[in-house]
Each structure stands twice: as C-alpha cells, then as structure tokens.
C-alpha cells in the first residue's frame, strides 16, 4: 500500500469513527467516557515509560521526528478530558488582589468591561469573562461592555447569554439597558480610551444594536471614567491592557484589573508592583484561580489538568531536545 492510500485510509477510518460518535450523541446513547482512577493512573505511567524510552533512544543517537512530539502533546491534552483525576489549584497574590478589588464594590457599582480579544483567544479569556460576569450579576454590579477589537463585544454577548441561563441569575430577571449594556465596538484603539475619559458618549453614541446612548438608563449618566467604579480588561494583544493602563489608569485614575492571555501577562506584571493594576488573571491558570475564588467550576478549572499534563510533556521534550542538541544532532530532525 502506498503512502497516499494509507493517508486516505486513516481519514476514512477517522470519518467513520466521528460519524458514529456524532450519531451516538444525537441519538442519546453516547453520554461520554470516563476512565476509572486505576485506568487513569495506568495511562499516565505508560506515557511516562514511553518518554523514558524516547530519552534512551535519543541518548543512543536515534532522534525522533517532530510529528511524534505533536502526537504526544495531542494525547497529553486529550486524555485528561476523560480522566477522573483532579488538581489542586493555589491562589496567587495577583488573583487574590483582583478578587478583593471587585469584592469591595458595593451593589449597584458600575463596572466597565473591555473585551479586547477575538475567538482565537477565547479558550483562555472566555472562562474569565464568564466567571467575571457571573460574579457581577450575582452581586448586583452593573456591567457596561465595550470592545476595542471588532469581535470583542460578540464574545461578551456569548458569555452574557450563557451566564443569564444560570438559575440564580435568571431569577434576578436582569434587564438589558438597566443591569447591563453592550456598547459594541469602536475603532481607534487607545484614542477611544482617551476620548472616553473626556466624553464617554462621543465614542459610543449607540449601543451594538443601534439604541441611542441616552435611551439606555444604565449609561445615560456616565459622562467619563469618574462615573465608573471599576474597570476590567480582557486582552489578547494590542490594543489591550497596556493601553488601558497608560490612558484610563494613569491619565484618568480608573481603578482597573485585567485578564490576559498567558502570552500577554508577563508584560503586564510590572503594573501590579507599581500599583497601576489591581490584579491580573494570567492565562487559563488565572481563570481557574478566579473560578475557585468566586466559587464556580468553569472551563478554566476543567482544563487545568490538561494544561498540567501538556506542561509535563513539554518539559520532558525540552530535556530530550537538549540531550539531542548536546549530542550534536540539532538541525537533523527535531
């Protein structure tokens, strides 16, 4: 059988498998797998042993291909979905201070949430958005959403729609325009923040549905940042937390916390030390910690096991890679 045939065969088998699983889901007989604790541990041990074998092979000068690394990472991320293992989550100081920052807000406080990310960064930031909204709605904080990224406000709507289905929150019967508002996207990056500081309405004459600003009771009286009690920025790049700190915090004195993708987070840590940011949720880890603090179990917590497993695999391959490097095989295969 030639290579092309093999590839077609693999795709065919995968397609049939997926079709059966999907049919099972729709038909209702497929409710998901869960490995027992014993099986979970066996899988972990098997992976560890195979990694040792790879290390041994590398020491012997036999290098593995890059696809093997991809395969291992894929497996290490996927298997924990089905494992009945749990992971302890520790609260870091920057998450603690962020939580305390919003915990001291009295009911009725206006919270500005800036959504500066798009679907590609959603796995990290969406859990933060959800637990943040859940906390706000549960504690009667008023939420104003804006976005400096075009798809940001849409991500906010997805999160709000999901949170409003929560029983406790549904019971509150929250009203759009009174309890929360989505003012949509505005182009202009940090200039938007600057203008919001002097004239909030000029940047958002209408909300994302086209309702005029003055017809929205929640924001009608918001003139500038002095009418905002707390700012929360979810950012995946530029414009993002750095710009919010430089303009809203340093120029207008807005009290702010931020949720960042892990890539962005190290750049924003200096702002905590200098007091420019109240706190930071960094990556999925930060999301999981915040979920723990607010007493909910969301995707952040759920994915932490996959995250840790993947990290172990990456560390293992860093060691293997370095072994290969020092044996002089750098550009050969890895």
């Amino acid at each position: 059988m030639n290579a092309r045939m093999k590839e077609i065969l693999v795709v065919a088998v995968l397609t049939v498998f997926c079709a059966i699983m999907y049919w099972g889901k729709v038909d209702g007989w497929m409710t998901g797998f869960q490995f027992s604790f014993g099986l979970s541990m066996t899988v972990v041990i098997l992976i560890a042993v195979s990694l040792l074998v790879i290390l041994y092979l590398t020491l012997r000068g036999k290098l593995i291909g890059r696809r093997v690394v991809f395969l291992y990472v894929g497996i290490s991320v996927t298997l924990p979905f089905f494992m009945s293992l749990s992971q302890e989550i520790k609260i870091s100081p920057e998450v603690q201070t962020l939580y305390e920052g919003i915990a001291e807000l009295p009911p009725g406080s206006v919270v500005l949430t800036a959504f500066d990310y798009d679907p590609p960064s959603a796995p990290e930031l969406q859990p933060m958005a959800e637990s943040f909204f859940r906390y706000c709605f549960n504690n009667d904080l008023k939420v104003v959403v804006i976005g400096l990224w075009p798809q940001g406000p849409q991500q906010a709507n997805i999160a709000i729609e999901k949170i409003l289905l929560d029983e406790a929150i549904a019971a509150k019967n929250l009203q759009y325009g009174i309890d929360y508002v989505n003012l949509g996207f505005q182009t202009g990056n940090e200039f938007v923040i600057q203008r919001m500081g002097s004239d909030f309405k000029s940047m958002f004459p209408t909300d994302y549905t086209g309702t005029p600003y003055n017809d929205l009771p929640l924001v009608r009286n918001i003139k500038n940042f002095s009418n905002i009690d707390y700012g929360f920025n979810l950012s995946a790049g530029y414009p993002g937390t750095v710009e919010w700190v430089q303009v809203a915090v340093d120029r207008y004195g807005l009290k702010m916390g931020a949720g960042n993708t892990a890539v962005q987070a190290p750049q924003c840590y200096p702002y905590i030390r200098s007091g420019q940011l109240v706190g930071i949720l960094g990556g999925m880890n930060g999301a999981a910690e915040f979920e723990l603090m607010t007493g909910t179990v969301g995707k952040g917590t759920k994915f932490m096991l996959s995250q840790s497993f993947a990290h172990m695999i990456v560390i293992a391959f860093i060691i293997i890679g370095n072994v290969a490097y020092f044996r002089g095989g750098r550009k050969q295969k890895l």
């Binding site: 798009d118 590609p120 002095s226 790049g237 530029y238 890539v263």
Partner: protein
C-alpha cells in the same frame, strides 16, 4: 434667599435635629431625656478650588467634631450637603467618622456651590456653617506634571540637538549591532541558491514605530535585492503597510538603477485578521521555500508559528521586534535577532538618516538619566533604610516626587 433659609433651618438643627431624625428623637426623648446624643458640629469648613482639573470639582476640608473620638465618640458619620446656585441643600455624600476632607465632583464651572457638613449622632445631625459660594475653575496647565514635562523636554531637546548635529554632517557614534552584517549575507545566500526572500513587517499598522523601523530596513534590503536580482515577496496584514512598502521598495529599486525590475506584486495584502494572515504566510513558506526570511516589526502570538515554520523549511531567519513577549521565540528559532531597541538602532544605523540617528542618541540621554537616578536612588534608599540617615531619605523622597506622574 432660599439658601439662607435652608441654612437657618440647619443651624437650628444644632438644637433640634433634622426632620427625619427628629421623629426618632422625639420618640426616644419621650422615654428619657438623657438619650438625646448631642455632638459639636464640624468647624472651619472650607471649600476650595480642586487644583488642575477641568472645572468639575471642589475640595472640602473641615476640623472634625470634638465629639468625634476613636473611643467613646458620639459621631457615627458625617453628611455633606451641597447647595447649587443658592438652591436647596441636598445630601451628596455620607462619610465615616474621622473624615476631614471630601472632593465634590461632577460640578459645572457655570454654577456656584455652597456646602454644609453635618456630624451625625444617633439622635440627629449637627450642621456646620455653610461655606461661601464658590465656582470651580478650569485650569489650563497641570503643574503636578511639571517634572514629566521638564524631563520630557530634556530628552526631546537632546533628540533635537543630536538630529541637528547629525544634519551638520558630524558623525555620531552608534555601537555595532551584532547581526547587521548578517542581513547582506542572507540576501546573498538567497541569490546564490536561486530562491526567494520573504519579508514580514509584523502585523501592526503604519502608526507603530516598529513597522516603520522594519520598513526602513526593508529599504536597505530592497536595494541589495535590486542589485542581485533576487525574488522578493512580502505579504502584509494592513493595507496602509502595503502602500508604504510598495513605495519603499520602488524607491530602493530606483536608487539602485533597476526601476524596471520593480513590480507591485512583490507586496500583497492578505487580511487584517491575525491568524488568517499567519495561516496564509505559513502556506507561502512551505510552498515557496524562501531561502531567507526577515521578520522585522511588531509581532504578537504569530511570532512563534512563523519562526517555527521558517525554521522547519531551513531558511536563514533574521528577526527583530520590540515586543518583549515575542522575543523568546525569535531567539530560539531564528539565526539572528535584533532585541527590542536594537531594531530601531539597526534601522538608524543602516539608513544613516540624521533623524533616526539623532533620536537614538537622544534616547541614550534619557537612558543615562534613568541609570543615574536608579543608582543614586537605590543607594540612598538602602543607606536610609539600613542606617536611618534622614538626608538620604530626603533624596529618595525628592526623586520619588520627581518621577511620580500622579
């Protein structure tokens, strides 16, 4: 006039508490006279202009009631009342015991305001005299930012001085930046191999200095390319960058005397969407297998993906960015990396342009200043804290006040 009546009413409340509290007090008085809790009102209530604002706030300060004690105090809160243009008093804020100041915001410079501060006890409110009516004023200059302005002026002045010096033809020294020679070698290598050169100017627009620095270096590279007749292609994610890059390359080809070799197809717009752009560039890399890849500009999450793919096709990669988060990937996956400001330095060095060189030197003045301040500040702070030397502490305080921007 109505204000004076309101004021009189409140003054009366020194003896007779405010209406709402009066009812409660009346009930309690009926039980026992000693239940009436009387406190002295706050004194010396002064309203003053809130400095350096847009005419939206006034500051209020007062001496707390003498009955406001930490232990056994009678005051349970302070209430601030405001009268606008002599109108009725309305309560605007309730403060905790011990408070002695308040900033009243959301005012208009067209109106005048008067304030009364009342000490609240369990029996009622005991109000101060009203302040004289005052209108907030708009200040044009914020003197709290004078140090920001002066230090900024010093560095900007240095930049201008050095630009002028460079213009006059004086040679400005810039240390050699490792990796610069590699640029010409990399172009030569692509020519020898008969393969193309891929130039990626980051994913930011023309308003980002990194993009500008990237394009400056592109100008230099394009000159070499024109001479060697190597194939260049440059997918971009911003329409403005596309236009600017075309003009840059065109100019370089003209300078090199090969305008006929220039084509608009060298630069193409892909999409503004970050990962859409990356997917496309990755595809190009794998299909075209360029011999040399330049990654010079502002990069975000795509840096690793691009550098990794470039590495996997065996291209010589020269990268440079000032985004700290992306540098690790370039350092790991590229052959040469211009770290942070080295990108700007390289662009200045290569272009030999007085403005770029002057800016670089001017910024060095700023860096020298920061280094000196850090050394003096840290030494003084250490001595001050270890041996409690007051003169050292005053140095630290001065430096902190100079560099504090709030």
């Amino acid at each position: 006039m109505s204000f004076h009546i309101a004021f009189l009413l409140l003054s009366v409340s020194l003896i007779v508490p405010s209406p709402s509290a009066q009812d409660e007090v009346a009930d309690s008085v009926a039980v026992s006279d000693s239940a009436l809790v009387v406190a002295a009102p706050p004194t010396s209530v002064i309203a003053s202009e809130h400095e350096y604002d847009d005419g939206e706030a006034l500051d209020l300060s007062w001496v707390p009631s003498i009955d406001d004690q930490l232990v056994g105090g009678l005051v349970i809160a302070y209430r601030v009342y405001r009268s606008t243009n002599g109108g009725e008093l309305e309560m605007i804020e309730e403060l905790i015991p011990g408070a002695n100041q308040f900033t009243s915001g959301e005012l208009s410079s067209d109106s005048s305001y008067s304030y009364v501060v009342a000490a609240v006890t369990t029996s009622g409110e005991f109000a101060s005299n009203a302040t004289a009516p005052l209108s907030p004023e708009t200040e044009w200059l914020n003197y709290e930012k004078k140090w920001l302005f002066l230090i900024g002026l010093l560095i900007a002045g240095a930049v201008m001085y050095f630009i002028e010096t460079a213009r006059k033809g004086k040679k400005l020294f810039v240390r050699k930046i490792a990796g610069l020679e590699a640029i010409d070698d990399a172009v030569g290598r692509a020519t020898e191999m008969g393969r193309s050169i891929l130039f990626i100017p980051g994913i930011q627009d023309m308003d980002d200095v990194q993009t500008l620095a990237g394009l400056t270096i592109l100008g230099r590279i394009a000159g070499t390319i024109a001479e060697y007749d190597t194939k260049l292609f440059m997918p971009v994610s911003r329409s403005l960058v596309m236009t600017a890059a075309r003009e840059t390359i065109k100019a370089s080809f003209q300078t090199a005397g090969r305008p006929d070799k220039y084509s608009d197809d060298m630069v193409s717009y892909v999409t503004d969407e970050q990962f859409g752009y990356v997917a496309h560039v990755d595809g190009i890399m794998v299909r075209e297998k360029p011999a040399t890849v330049f990654l010079l500009g502002a990069f975000f999450a795509e840096s690793l993906i691009l550098a990794e793919t470039g590495n996997s096709i065996g291209a010589i990669q020269i990268a440079g960015t000032a985004r700290p988060a992306q540098l690790p990937f370039f350092i790991a996956a590229c052959d040469f990396t211009l770290i942070g400001e080295e990108l700007f330095a390289a662009s200045a060095y290569l272009s030999n342009e007085p403005r770029a060189l002057g800016s670089l030197k001017g910024q060095d003045v700023g860096k020298a200043l920061a280094m000196i301040v850090i050394v003096i500040g840290v030494l003084a702070a250490t001595i001050a804290s270890a041996w409690q030397v007051e003169s050292m502490q005053s140095i630290v305080d001065t430096l902190n006040s100079v560099f504090s921007t709030n």
